[in-house]
């Protein structure tokens, strides 16, 4: 077992654990903490996959911005749900649905190459060329999307005076 493999197993375990923990803890603020750890962990996986640009982006957007957003969301709605989140427990039906989905997806593993393969390593400049060149329209679309989202969201959360 190489070091990378070991690191991957640890990171994977942490990711799973934090994800589950975030959903199962009773205190919402703890959830935010766990999810922050989750995002950081995923970022680490990106680094492991030799995608440092993504890792940084993940840290900045997810571990940073999204977490803060969620925290604000919790705080702004907190008054009314001061009591701890009622844990609904492990409902059999949703759990089995999730597990079955997992099983189905994992069945694909059987046809994937079992042996380890060499990872391609990409220079971030190449990535940026791709992002702003060939696949530039994606970002354009993202921009449009954000424009609408921002305009609408601001309108929505603004206290109406009518």
């Amino acid at each position: 077992m190489s070091l990378e493999e070991l690191a991957f197993i640890v990171l994977a375990a942490v990711a799973l654990f934090t994800a589950v923990a975030a959903l199962l803890v009773r205190e919402l603020v703890h959830t935010i903490l766990w999810i922050a750890v989750f995002f950081v962990d995923i970022s680490a996986i990106y680094f492991l996959l030799e995608a440092p640009f993504l890792g940084v982006l993940q840290l900045g957007v997810y571990a940073g911005a999204v977490t803060v957003l969620l925290l604000f969301g919790v705080m702004l709605t907190r008054k009314r749900i001061f009591s701890r989140e009622a844990v609904t427990g492990l409902d059999a039906v949703p759990l089995s649905l999730a597990v079955v989905t997992f099983i189905f997806v994992v069945t694909a593993v059987g046809q994937l190459p079992q042996s380890s393969e060499t990872l391609s390593v990409y220079d971030p400049t190449l990535l940026s060329q791709n992002l702003f060149g060939t696949n530039g329209p994606w970002l354009l679309l993202l921009g449009l999307l954000m424009m609408g989202a921002v305009a609408g969201s601001i309108y929505l959360v603004r206290e109406g005076r009518e």
């Binding site: 949703p94 649905l97 989905t101």
Partner: protein, 637 residues
Amino acid sequence: MRRLEWGGWVSVAFSGAAMVVGVLIGVGEMVNPGTYTDVRYTWLHLAPAPGPFPNGFSLVVGTLVDPISALMLIVVTVVGFLVMLYSIGYMHQDRGLPRYYAELSLFLTAMSGLVLADNLLEFFVFWELVGVCSYFLIGFYYEKPSAASAAKEAFIVTRVGDIMFLLGIFLYFYNFALAGPAGSGGWAANGFLFVNGNQPYLLGHGLGGNSTLLTVAGIMILGGAAGKSAQFPLHVWLPDAMEGPTTVSALIHAATMVAAGVYLLAVASLFLGFTSTDQLAIVGIGGFTAFFAATMAVVHPDIKRVIAYSTISQLGYMVMAVGAGFAMVGLFHLFTHAFFKALLFLAAGSVIHAVGTQDLFKMGGLRKTMRLTAIAFAVGGLALAGIPPFAGFWSKDDILSAVYSQLGSHPAYWPFFLLAFAAVFLTAYYIFRAWFLAFSGDHPRDPSLGHAHEGPWTMQVPLVLLSALACGAGLLIFVPGFQSLLLSGAGATGIPPVYGTTDLLISAASVALGVSGIALAWVLWGNGRVYALPETSAAQPVRRLLLKRYYFKIGYDWIGAKGVYTIARAADFFDRFVIDGTVHGFERAFALVSNRLRRIQSGVVSDYAAYVVAGLIALFVILLIVAPYVVSRLGGG
């Protein structure tokens, strides 16, 4: 009132003209026998085409005069005119006079059309029209429920016969279509039903066809005749048809329409041919009916119904004659019977007109006030009873002799011949029982009947004329022209008519029976008094059976009203609750499913998400397992 009567006179005038023409045609046939056809209108033409009629065919309408139709035409027009005339007096108080004359005129038209029809289809058309006129006229007093009911009964019962007749037409058609062109002869020569262009190819004597089919065809024709001529077992309607005006009974239900059945049988036997089985069936029905109807007449208290039963019985004789192969003999009896039976009816009508009731037991002693009527009735009675030289004697004895002559060829004729023979006695008895009950004695048994008197001259003239005919019509048989008329009419059958050559033994016996019948009637009823049959008498059940008409009417009513309507109601139930219920069941099932399915729309978004994930898993199952299997079964697309 005057305006109404004026309309009646129009009808009388026209029917008089018709009588003149009819009699002229008859005389013409006597002078110059033969077959004459006239205008033909193509009613429906099927051009040659592939299929069952490679040459195509036409249904035509036209007129045809031959000896037998001439004979019949005389009867129809003469009796028709006399009844029309009589009706002026008889019906003068009725508000429905215009309707009466219109319907009666329509009837005469249809009847003449029937007689002059040149093919069976046209025959059938007029046959039906005659039936519907009868329906209207029986129901003339439609406010009376019994009249409306009787009209309906008559229509339905005769329709049963009509249906058989129609099937008979089809059978003959099929038979002759197989037989192909052959032979010649009056009706047949002019295209019995279907002609190809003007070239007849479906003809009489077409015995080359399937004999079973022919037998069935004959039975079907018999069925049709039985319906119109009220033969057993379709006889029930005729007595009830007496709900109509008496004049109608005289014309339609004695002289003409009911005779159309016999006429049909005669035509069929002359031009289409019956197998021996058919003949036996016809003789059987006729002979049995002759006796059977006579028994019922014996006890009946209603003067018209007695005569009606007598009509059925006499028609039985005619049918029997035709069945035995002596169509012209049957028609001869038809000829004479028309006059004396019309006479009897008109005389009875005269009585009813005078006393206002039909119940014999309320009448009595009318001969003093209604001498003419009494004489006329007696003449009619004597003719009916077969007392020489009155008309009935000649024709009835012809029939008996004719059938007697055929007994050798068909042993099974014996019982029917004997029944018919016995009926002669009953005939004489019941008609004179009626005469004695009505006319003998000192005064009406029901004092409320008041003072009876004769009708106006319009009623008396027909009585006189018909009396003369009832006396003399039988003697026509000795007139050469008339003889040749009958002979040429029978020419096609191969069996010679036996008129005028009555077997003396048979004649003597029947006259003896007739006289003894009259004698018995005189002994029992001659003094004008009525004896009640003791309740305990052994004859009581018999009397009840006869009065109840052997329960036929009740039985038919039961089948019709109870049986059929029960089925109909059951069917209605089935239709509403099972068939429509199934439809509603579908509706309800959909509603149920819809209601159940609606509950998945719980309003909780988590559930919706669960549906999405469940759907996703279902998609996986389909994509990975089900669909590949289906595709491999379908063979790759």
